[in-house]
């Protein structure tokens, strides 16, 4: 306990030292270039290139802060940063660590991410950073309700300049809309619209925390398939299979469908009617997948196709009905994969499961993802390695003929995008002898059953002879 407090103290002191070291105004940015474009259906991907981040203060700094308005910060699914090394031809990227950071004195509740540099930036030194971030749910449908024949338009709110705690000498923002139809946009001179490209800037010499709110209103008929809740249950059986069950709650998060749904128009004019609706989804499953099923509360859904090859398996699923804005559907996908593809033994003698974290359905955002790894009965000391922050907890589950229950590792994460679809590992210890427990139990139960009958038939319980 004492050690813990001590380490906490040391940690907080070091934090204090760090923040005092990198006072925001010590840096200035020569040139910033931001680009925003569609990533998947309702998700935007932004990239910022900060050229020549220069230390103008006296003390060396090892942290660069990224600022986001609070509304945007909540929708950030992912922030990545890399430093560019070398000149033009031999340019290469070295990924840097990015963590949320608190700055109490920031104006208007601005939120921050801190990029930790590889080497502290001494006075007068400069570096170039590339930042990539993904914003989900940042497109707001307007009009909120549309009828079957209308297209879907959305709003995007942002600032014309990059929000930053540093002085930026020169900057520009490029916004790529998915179609040529831009209804309106806020003018912050100079602003140019060229087809589907909207350019704000270049702007010179903006003070720290400058913010020019803009609204862009454009057509976006990409269906907003959002998985509101996804629960993946990965059950490991040492008898040779990993069984995955995924419960989906799917919704069309775009402009709500209003009034009549006419099947005759939907069927006869597929191009013009219900353009923002969708009727199938593609799930990428691991190769060598077997016993795939696709059902919901009221039984099997017959509209699905599975294509398997040695590299990957593709499951094309069709919900029971086409999804229009605001409509929902829930379903269940289950499949089994061979154990040897995913379970390995580490050098220490531990076993570990290596499985992908995110949602297998392409082009969707998951609002709340719960991954449950059900370890075999009798496994001990589970530990998880995930590349990003998740909430962890442990549960017990009783399945067929369990006596002591199975350990379940529960991982929860909000706002999951396809980029989170990377493997994670669960390490645990397991004694092979436990595999035999249940078969032995069954054998002995049946044995006892028959023995009792044999005994009953051979014992004469009558009092008189």
């Amino acid at each position: 306990m004492a050690a813990l407090i001590l380490s906490f103290l040391v940690f907080s002191i070091s934090l204090l030292v760090k923040t005092s070291l990198s006072s925001p105004s010590d840096l200035q940015i020569l040139h910033a270039e931001r680009q925003l474009q569609k990533f998947v259906e309702c998700v935007l991907m932004g990239s910022i290139i900060l050229q020549q981040v220069e230390n103008i203060g006296d003390t060396p700094t090892s942290e660069v802060l990224l600022a986001f308005p609070p509304a945007q910060f909540d929708h950030l699914a992912l922030v990545k940063a890399a430093v560019t090394v070398g000149k033009k031809r031999k340019k290469s990227y070295v990924p840097l660590e990015v963590n949320p950071s608190e700055q109490p004195e920031a104006p208007n509740g601005t939120k921050f991410y801190a990029i930790s540099l590889l080497n502290p930036l001494a006075k007068g030194e400069s570096t170039t950073l590339e930042i990539l971030y993904i914003l989900s749910h940042s497109l707001e449908p307007f009009p909120v309700e549309i009828s079957q024949s209308e297209s879907q338009f959305v709003y995007y709110h942002d600032s014309a300049v990059v929000l930053s705690p540093y002085h930026i000498k020169q900057q520009a923002t490029l916004f790529k809309t998915p179609s040529n139809k831009v209804e309106s946009f806020t003018q912050v001179e100079p602003t140019y619209l060229n087809g589907a490209e909207l350019k704000y800037g270049p702007y010179e010499d903006h003070r720290p925390y400058s913010y020019y709110p803009i609204i862009i209103h454009f057509e976006n008929n990409h269906p907003f398939a959002v998985v509101e809740e996804l629960e993946r249950e990965i059950e490991v059986s040492h008898w040779g299979s990993v069984q995955v069950t995924e419960h989906y709650k799917l919704a069309h998060a775009g402009a709500k469908h209003k009034g009549v749904f006419s099947r005759v128009e939907y069927q006869s004019r597929p191009g013009a009617s219900g353009v923002s609706s969708f009727k199938h989804l593609l799930a990428m499953l691991p190769p060598r997948v077997h016993s795939v099923y696709y059902r919901d509360d009221i039984g099997n859904i017959s509209s699905s196709h599975l294509r398997t090859s040695s590299k990957k398996s593709e499951l094309l699923i069709e919900p029971r009905y086409p999804l229009f804005g605001g409509w929902k559907a829930s379903f269940l996908i289950g499949y089994g994969v061979p154990l040897q593809d995913f379970l390995f033994e580490s050098a220490v003698g531990e076993r570990y499961l290596n499985f992908s974290f995110g949602c297998p359905i392409a082009d969707t955002v998951v609002d709340k993802l719960t991954v449950k790894v059900v370890l075999p009965e009798g496994s001990k000391d589970p530990s998880v390695k995930v590349a990003f922050a998740v909430e962890q907890s442990l549960e017990k589950k009783y399945s067929y003929l369990d006596v002591i229950g199975r350990t379940v590792v529960v991982l929860e994460k909000k706002n999951v995008v396809p980029d989170h679809n990377i493997p994670f590992q669960v390490h645990y210890k397991f004694n092979q002898i436990f595999m035999l427990a249940e078969p032995l139990m069954l054998v002995s139960a049946f044995f006892l059953f028959f023995i009792t009958f044999v005994a009953y038939l051979h014992i004469d319980l009558s009092l008189r002879k």
Partner: protein
Amino acid sequence: MAAPETPQPTTLRHAFGNVLSLFVLLLIGVLAFSIRLFSFLTKNGVYDFWNWFDDRTWYPLGRVIGGTVYPGLTLTAGALWRIFNSLNIPLSVETVCVFTAPIFSAFASWATYLLTKEVKGAGAGLTAAALLAMTLNTGSLFYATLNAIAYFYMVCSWGGYTFIINLIPMHVLLCIVTGRYSSRLYIAYAPLVVLGTLLAALVPVVGFNAVMTSEHFASFLVFIILHVVALVYYIKGILTPQMFKVAVTLVVSVGLIVCGAVLAVLVALVASSPTKGWSGRSLSLLDPTYASKYIPIIASVSEHQPPTWPSYFMDINVLAFLVPSGIIACFLPLSDASSFAVLYIVTSVYFSGVMVRLMLVLAPAACIMSGIALSEAFDVFTRSIKFQLHGATQNPEANAGEGSNVDVVKTEKSEDSPKERASRKSKKKEKENVERASLVSRIEKRLLVLPMEASLIAIFLLVLLGAFYVVHCVWAAAEAYSAPSIVLTSRSHDGLHVFDDFREAYGWLRHNTEVDDKVASWWDYGYQTTAMANRTVIVDNNTWNNTHIATVGTAMSSPEKAAWDIFNSLDVKYVLVVFGGLVGYPSDDINKFLWMVRIGGGVFPHIKEPDYLRDGQYRIDSQATPTMLNCLMYKLSYYRFVDTDGRGYDRVRNTEIGKKYFKLTHFEEVFTTHHWMVRIYKLKAPRNRIRGKTKKSKSKGSSTTSSKRSGARKKNPWH
């Protein structure tokens, strides 16, 4: 002795195959509802179950589940589920429900086996019957009690228990009349009536009906008669013959007066009730034409229609031909038990002839009978083979010197030709021969012997027959009974095409409407809507309130505005219709529509069936009556149908629809499934009262309909 053992497994298998299929038939119908009941049961426990007031159905009346449901199967499934889960076997609710059926069919076939064994040696009711038979033969009070408990279970599970409670008294009466009264009969019957009635009254849905309705009357009457007979026998035992004669005259004269008085009172009581104390369903059993005359709602159910010959053949297959021979076999030595079997088959044949649904009752009886027939046939054939083999081994010895044996062989051979003829004729003859044989002596036994080849071929043919029957049963169970009627399939040149429209619509309702929304549809889809769409319905398959169903029928057969008024007063948000015209699905709402008219008209006389018929013909083409073309059901079914092919050709009725282009003013289409089989409409919110506009919309309607509309509004039951 080895011979009689062979037929038993076949009997068992037959019984199994058939009873299985029929049980599945029963269960599928109730399954959707059961699952819902059952999930409630597992969540809330048994006591809440009895008091459960279901407000999701029969809106706004609701339904007292505990008092209106036969809880047997649900409770059984619930108990199974509990047991499995306590053993850490996490079966889902649905799985348990589905597997209850095979478990029960296994029980049923076991019970059939026992019964058959008793006779020569249905569902839970079968157990009762089997136990009764056992009691008759053993005369044990223990079995009699078991019998009452089995009867109780039957009462819990199915309304068909009335069949058993009438069948058993009939049998007892038959026994008494034919002078077969014995103390064993008394022990078998008396406890059943007393205990059974008490137990049956415990089931909320039966309650005091167990003593008050005429369906149970027979059992009490026979109960009294039985006691009188028992008393007479007792008195006869203790009195001298002369004294007995005096006593008889005394008792008979007094008894007649008393009986007459009691009878008069009873008749007066029964006659005072309008349906003479019989429920509609039972009346339609006794008088097959009753239902179609008076209660359209009972007649409208396809299960209650008289079966066709193909359906007999489909359901019981070869058994249909084996049953008569089985009956004859039963008569040869007529015992208490076999007379019961005969009575059982005769009554069940009658009842199954009235209603398809009661094929369920026939199945076990048919199984027993044909089992007996097969067993007899095998008996004859195997015995003759045995005899032949035996004779063959003895022949050398006979040749060695013993004349009598040669004689035997000779007589045998001389009997061969007439026997062959007999075997060619029919099985009945054989049976008679079997009986004669068992009666007297070994010479006559020799008469029975068939030639080796003939009996071998016959056995082979019988086995083949059995095998084909098993194949048929498996096919029937898989294709006809297990194929859910909710998912339709059609085979075309490019493979299997699935029509999953019902679940598409229910799924849509489940996810995209408010939890409290009420959905109106014809009652056929009530259980499905509550179970699959999880929405409140107005009427459902438990057709306990005729007026409420008639209200929905009236709405469907009224013009749009009047229908809107009715639905709105019922707080309905969505109206669901089933339409098969695009893909040719024949059991859609348009084909059921006349029933809606009839049922609606039965309660609200302004709906008249002739208004919907042109010269007594039901049609939806251009010759159809304006009332038909303007009723809600027509409009909801055919709304924008003409846009699909340009001329509105209905593939079920094989005609072009009468009114092609029309608009809906009070309803809007909110969902139509992929094959148009289910269409869901939403009631439009009432328009703001702008004087000019409402007048305009009124003047649009044709004069005839508007006059009808106003008339309808006056008589609208909900205002």
